[in-house]
């Protein structure tokens, strides 16, 4: 056992780091920018630089402008890039999930038209699956597509769409046949987000911010040639999109045991026995998450298929974050209710993350759905009872 790179991995890491050092500043060397417009331009420029140097999509075949690299090289790249102030956010979903779906199901014309431009950072993609009444049960979505000649006419509403306001294209899952059971009446399309009838409205989140969107479609027309996969095969296409979610390589999404330990030390509460026991639990959970990723990476490094252990990730991290923030606030007693970055320790990171944590427990699979996935796919337990399984969609209850 060791945590070392193989010689090949070390060589790739050195190459990646040299490239990053040439173009970016290490994280923490300058204050984080809150300039969103500029952020987008920077992200596009960085994407272009990466693509020109074959660092844009490590595992994609060279045919599509990728590096043709291994999954382990992809992990190493992610680790190294995350050490720098790399503006990657706007491209994560498009290149991680949407464009691979286009590559898998699109025509040659689609691939020629879209892949290169996305890779070069010229066009941004979003994913349009969730709806107000179709979250965990996304196959219950209602947005309708009705055929009209060589076109489809789209009406409906999507929700929680990251980056919809700056996206050029999206992959859109819609209902083309409400007379068949829900999974069988779905179809996937490429949609131009800049066309008339597409309206993007920011969602005012419980945390106060507006990072996500609702997208309304009113008589939006999509040519049949922009369909991905067969009519009625949209669910199969969507599963490929969801399978392409990137192997998580980042750290925990907020303050962790080290931050709250530092805070407790600075404020004289580190000697509290109850706190110390919790701190030990947080350390164990954080290590458990980090080291489990090492196990997954080991399998990749050995050229093996990783086991299912990575599925524990978000269940741990989201609850962990919520618990740490809650304790940090309670430790500050009444003062902990103040949410001003310039007045509070650590720029009020505990307060801010306290309001993010409920969203993290829901986004990308709720705790409950993730537990179902572990129970069903890892442990092999039966699926839940599905009363709508064989029912035509238009006879299903919905709300």
């Amino acid at each position: 056992m060791d945590f070392n790179d193989t010689p090949e991995e070390a060589a790739f890491r050195a190459e990646a780091r040299a490239f990053l050092e040439k173009h970016l500043k290490p994280k923490g060397s300058a204050p984080a920018s809150r300039d969103r417009v500029n952020m987008l331009e920077k992200a596009k420029a960085w994407q272009k630089t990466k693509a020109e140097n074959k660092f844009a999509q490590i595992t994609w075949p060279e045919e599509w402008g990728g590096r043709g690299g291994t999954a382990m090289q992809n992990v190493i790249w992610g680790q190294e890039e995350s050490k720098f102030d790399a503006p990657t956010g706007p491209f994560a979903i498009g290149l991680g999930m949407c464009v691979p779906t286009v590559i898998a199901f699109g025509s040659d014309e689609h691939k020629k038209r879209y892949v290169q431009k996305a890779l070069m950072g010229e066009e941004i993609w979003c994913q349009l699956f969730s709806e107000p009444s179709a979250g965990s049960d996304v196959a219950g979505l209602k947005t309708r597509a009705v055929k009209d000649g060589d076109e489809w006419v789209i009406n409906g509403q999507k929700v929680w769409t990251s980056g919809a306001h700056y996206s050029d294209f999206g992959i859109l899952l819609v209902r083309t046949d409400p007379k068949v059971p829900k999974h069988k009446g779905l179809t996937m399309f490429i949609v131009n987000m800049k066309q008339p009838g597409v309206e993007v409205r920011p969602i005012h989140q419980a945390s106060g911010g507006r990072e996500f969107n609702e997208v309304y479609f009113t008589d939006v027309r999509i040519p049949d040639s922009d369909r991905l996969g067969d009519v009625g095969a949209g669910w199969k296409v969507a599963l490929v999109t969801l399978m392409n979610e990137r192997l998580a390589v980042g750290g925990s999404p907020g303050p962790d045991w080290a931050e709250i330990m530092e805070y407790a030390r600075d404020h004289g509460t580190l000697s509290d026995q109850a706190f110390r026991e919790k701190l030990a639990d947080w350390y164990v959970a954080a290590q458990g998450y980090k080291l489990t990723k090492f196990r997954t990476q080991t399998a990749l490094s050995r050229g093996q298929t990783p086991g299912p252990e990575n599925s524990i990730g978000k269940i741990i991290t989201a609850n962990h974050l919520q618990d740490i923030c809650n304790s940090a606030i309670e430790m500050q007693d009444h003062y902990g209710i103040i949410n001003e970055t310039d007045r509070m320790p650590a720029d009020a990171i505990f307060q801010q993350s306290f309001m993010w944590a409920p969203g993290l427990r829901i986004a990308g699979g709720t705790d409950e759905i993730l537990k179902n996935i572990i129970a069903e796919r890892v442990l092999g337990l039966p699926q839940d009872v599905r009363v709508d399984k064989d029912l035509p969609f238009d006879q299903m209850k919905s709300g």
Binding site: M1, D2, F3, N4, D5, E9, M72, M261, R265, L270, R276, E277, L279, A280, D281, Y283, V284, A285, Q287, G288, Y289, K290, L291, T292, F294, R295, Q297, T298, A299, L300, S301, R302, E309, I312, I315, I316, E368, L370, K371, N372, I374, A375, E376, V378, L379, G380, L381, P382, Q383, D384, V385
Partner: protein, 371 residues
């Protein structure tokens, strides 16, 4: 990145599992459970010695296999899975590691080959009453040549041939090796929550002993020994927790209620998923402990403590929720759930309970931060 056992070590695990499933099946465990006069399975112990496992981490010059601590971890997990009713931990973890850590060459050459041959059974005598033994306030004393005092409880104390005793010497503490065939040893069998492992009260009255290491080094040696033992016990806990999850899964799939397997209910599915998460957190922390143990890494204190805390929690949760998943059946003597529940508690409090290890963990983090 190479954060997993090697193919050879995985092969060893597979062979050990086959052997233990055949030789340490539940009837073997129940023989010890149901017979108050039986503190271990002698037949299984003999076979384990014949397999050479007792010498896994003992150097070849002392007759061992000369493998390493990673191989010990692999075996520990398998022993934990089947609740092997033998003094493996007392002998191959506590006694062996104490002698390797602090024994003179003479002691090593005397004791280790006899451990390999299966002639010696060890035990570790630290506890003297409620609470974790504090080396600074022990009642058992060592005067340089003999030990006097009472230790309770001592796992495998009734069957051991040798004890490692934590005793007060002068103003400090020392680790003392005692041959239990010596004068002044009284053993009283104890009834415990886990009758599949023997326990006794040991009283020493001027019993001859040999100090392991220097006088007054007992506290520090004990800490080092406990770190090593903690990792190995954590692997036993991991093995038990994994088995408990398998049992819960198998039963929930075959037990029908309201016209379908109870495994289809989210309350059961989520409970088992939670077990899985805790077991994987434990496994990852155990691996880190194994790495630290096998490389003498400076991270050993926090790695051992984290493995121990995670594995104690995982086994506790899996063993209690395994009973719950089995419903009324799980509360019968005949169904094996309670054996895991019992063992989970023994392993959690032996060598220091979760509270002790959480405090050790935070202290290690504080020291790391101060450095």
């Amino acid at each position: 990145m190479n954060f997993d056992f090697s193919e050879d070590q995985k092969f060893l695990a597979g062979e050990a599992r086959k052997f233990l499933e055949a030789e340490s099946a539940i009837p073997v465990v129940r023989e010890v459970l149901n017979d108050d006069d039986k503190a271990y399975s002698e037949a299984l112990w003999k076979k384990i010695a014949e397999m050479g496992w007792l010498g896994t981490a003992i150097p070849e010059e002392q007759g061992g296999l000369g493998l390493g601590m990673l191989e010990m971890c692999v075996l520990a997990e398998e022993m934990g899975r089947v609740l092997a009713p033998v003094p493996f931990s007392s002998t191959a973890y506590y006694l062996t590691e104490a002698v390797k850590l602090a024994g003179s060459d003479e002691v090593k050459n005397d004791i280790l080959p006899r451990i390999v041959a299966g002639e010696i059974i060890g035990c570790y005598a630290a506890s003297e009453g409620p609470g974790h033994p504090d080396p600074a306030s022990l009642k058992t004393t060592f005067d340089g040549s003999t030990v006097s005092g009472t230790k309770i409880p001592v796992t495998d104390g009734g069957i051991a041939t040798h004890a490692v005793v934590l005793a007060k010497e002068g103003s400090g503490a020392s680790l003392v090796l005692v041959d239990l065939s010596g004068a002044g040893v009284t053993r009283k069998t104890l009834s415990t929550l886990d009758p599949t492992r023997g326990h006794a009260e040991l009283t020493f009255d001027k019993t001859p002993g040999i100090r392991l290491g220097a006088a007054g080094d007992g506290a520090s040696l004990n800490d080092q020994l406990m770190d090593k033992v903690a990792v190995l016990l954590a692997f036993e806990q991991l093995g038990g927790a994994s088995r408990a999850l398998e049992m819960a899964k198998a039963y929930s799939l075959e037990r029908y209620a309201f016209g379908r397997p109870i495994a289809g209910n989210q309350a059961i599915k989520h409970k088992l998923a939670e077990m899985y998460v805790k077991n994987e957190v434990a496994r990852s922390n155990c691996f880190y402990g194994a790495w630290a143990l096998s490389t003498d890494a400076p991270e050993m204190p926090e790695a051992a403590a984290a493995a121990r805390v995670a594995a104690s929690e995982a086994f506790w949760y899996a063993s209690k929720e395994n009973i719950q998943t089995h419903g009324g059946m799980g509360f019968t003597w005949e169904v094996d759930c309670h054996l895991y529940y019992r063992r989970a508690k023994l392993l959690a409090v032996q060598a220091g309970g979760p509270k002790v290890w959480k405090e050790k963990l935070v202290r290690a983090l504080e020291q790391k931060n101060a450095a």
